[in-house]
Symmetry: C2
Subunit: 334 residues, 2 copies
DNA sequence: CTTTGTGATTGTTACGTTTTAATCGAGGCG
DNA sequence: CGCCTCGATTAAAACGTAACAATCACAAAG
């Protein structure tokens, strides 16, 4: 019940509330002797600053919002780890929102962020929607796109080249002698899927193959379960290609499970490549060939950009950073 | 910059600020005609409630804090999914804090929760510390322990019986004809590790074996990397037991990787069992025998209890709920 | 015609902090 | 000794909302 406020601390230390506030926010402005007196009063009373009052008065909080598509995907927890490390280094807390790929949930998370008056938002948008983000900016909330290239130059964005990645993946499958090719992917609205597909088609064209040969299997989610269902679907169709490119590792691991259960040998019967190179990719039944991304770094850099924009709104120069992915060859491809 | 407040909405709708507040918080108290008028004013102006002002005035926010030990562990993301689902059903937002097993980071997260005046806190404590949590309660913040049994009856707690689980695991290994037994675990401060160990020892005693035979390998973290290091350590020692119980699946998957890389056959040379039955356990090179817990449910129930306590502080009856784990047998054990 | 009751709306105050301008005190300098 | 400067401190005014008592309109009851 005890709600000890700045006033109580002030009384205890024999100073005014304003001085306590200064100790909290601009310690260098207050004389050493009074500062230590105030600090010990804070300790003795167990005072903790009322963040809401502070936010209300200051006009902004010391939190940033992070909205990701699927917190169950290790790719995003790695990103989140990078975000959290940088944020807490710089005195910010992170509010994590998981959209589960649902536009409605994403919208609700952004609303929560707006209500909390977060200082900035890091978002991996689940679809193209410059509008919603502009609404946030209009409210004075900085936005940085994560794992999504910038559509415009008036914003920061950090991404990994998914076209290149998709191209690398399919080029690798073709080098392995792939005949028929399949692309197992998520909802068409997800940009990562589109780009990886585009890269895949480019690689086919470059190899003198008709990109239209690429058989697409689109699933409503990008989870291991969905991957397994995709396997069942392809097996039931009797249309199993002899090389499969999965748009992420979860799909690939589910696919792998589905194939092995049906007695399909990987990579002997079917070559399989995933995307993201999550930690579990190398531990799977047949270790997974995948496309590695600098995940943790993605989160760190994005947060650095965001906080730089927040703290130096005038001098800040927007940056669009694009990392390059790497191919990691393991057992699942020929 | 546009900071449109409740007053602007009131002016637009031709009512007083108090009425707008009523529309927001107790819509049933306001006449239909005025309510719709206010609602459209809100929409037209793009008003979003200032959560901090609301919190400041109301004395509490509509957020709950969730502090977990390792967000990189799928076990905790599953718990978090349950928490988030219930919280958002009931109009609460979740602030997620990751302690990474560090007491200092946990402390910092709790401080953030306190500053934000969260309504309640869900926590998987990384060590025994009734004190810190009591400090939160003294501030009027409800606390529910997650995946941790209650030490006292004046608090809610939701857990899974780890002693039983540990016992099941080792009993299974012994049934498989295990001679020497190893227990690969995390920091000794983690209660889950202690309990699983205790269960393991009980199972040995029940089988007429000396519990002191159980060779313990304690790692500083409970990650896949740590598991692999444990494998290297055991191999270097030349002291590899012929059955291993790992305190969680990440350790077990890392151990598996380490063993296979060294040419040790699982389960032929070494039987291996994990704990948690994360999704990836069934997809690994040699699919992992494990102990399953009702993870998602854990998060749901804990959140239900927490919000019940917050919303009905008087009638609320504290509950200590203990789920039972299940053994899931796969390929990694004889 | 007054009183009473009821449901809807409003005015006001307080929440705990930050911030700005104002005040204070102590030296330094002419 | 008076004037100025400068650093340290303070007083007071917000910030946007919720809650409560007060008011209002209006109809039913007496």
């Amino acid at each position: 019940m005890s709600t000890v406020s700045i006033k109580d601390v002030a009384a205890r230390a024999g100073v005014s509330p304003g001085t306590v506030s200064n100790v909290l926010n601009r310690p260098e402005k207050v004389a050493d002797s009074t500062r230590t007196r105030v600090e010990s009063a804070i300790r003795e009373l167990g005072f903790v600053r009322h963040g809401s009052a502070s936010t209300l008065r200051a006009g902004h909080s010391r939190t940033v919002g992070l909205s990701v598509i699927d917190i169950g995907n290790p790719f995003f927890t790695d990103v989140a780890a990078g975000v959290e490390d940088v944020a807490s280094e710089r005195g910010y807390a992170v509010i994590l929102g998981n959209s589960s790929g649902s536009r409605m949930k994403e919208e609700r998370n952004l609303l929560v962020f707006a209500e909390q008056r977060v200082r900035g938002v890091l978002i991996t948008p689940s679809d193209e929607d410059p509008q919603r983000l502009d609404q946030l900016r209009a409210r004075g909330i900085c936005v940085v796109l994560v794992d999504h290239p910038a559509e415009r130059s008036d914003q920061c964005a950090v991404a990994v080249n998914d076209v290149t990645g998709g191209s690398m993946a399919v080029a690798h499958l073709l080098e392995g002698g792939a005949g028929s090719l399949g692309f197992v992917t998520g909802p068409a609205t997800i940009r990562q899927c589109q780009d990886r597909r585009r890269g895949a088609e480019q690689a086919m064209a470059a190899a003198g193959r008709d990109p239209r040969e690429l058989r697409e299997v689109a699933m409503p989610a990008m989870t291991a379960k969905a991957g397994q269902q995709a396997a069942e679907k392809l097996l039931a169709d009797g249309s199993m290609p002899d090389a499969l490119f999965c748009a992420n590792d979860l799909l690939a691991l589910g696919m792998l499970r589905g194939l092995l259960q049906a007695g399909v040998r990987v990579p002997h019967d079917v070559s399989l490549i995933g995307y993201d190179d999550i930690d579990f990719a190398s531990a799977s039944t047949v270790s997974l060939t995948s496309i590695r991304q600098p995940t943790y770094q993605l989160g760190r850099v994005a947060t650095d950009l965001l906080l730089d924009e927040c703290d130096n709104p005038d001098t800040h120069a927007h940056q669009q950073i694009m990392f390059q992915p790497d191919l990691v060859v393991r057992e699942s491809t020929r």
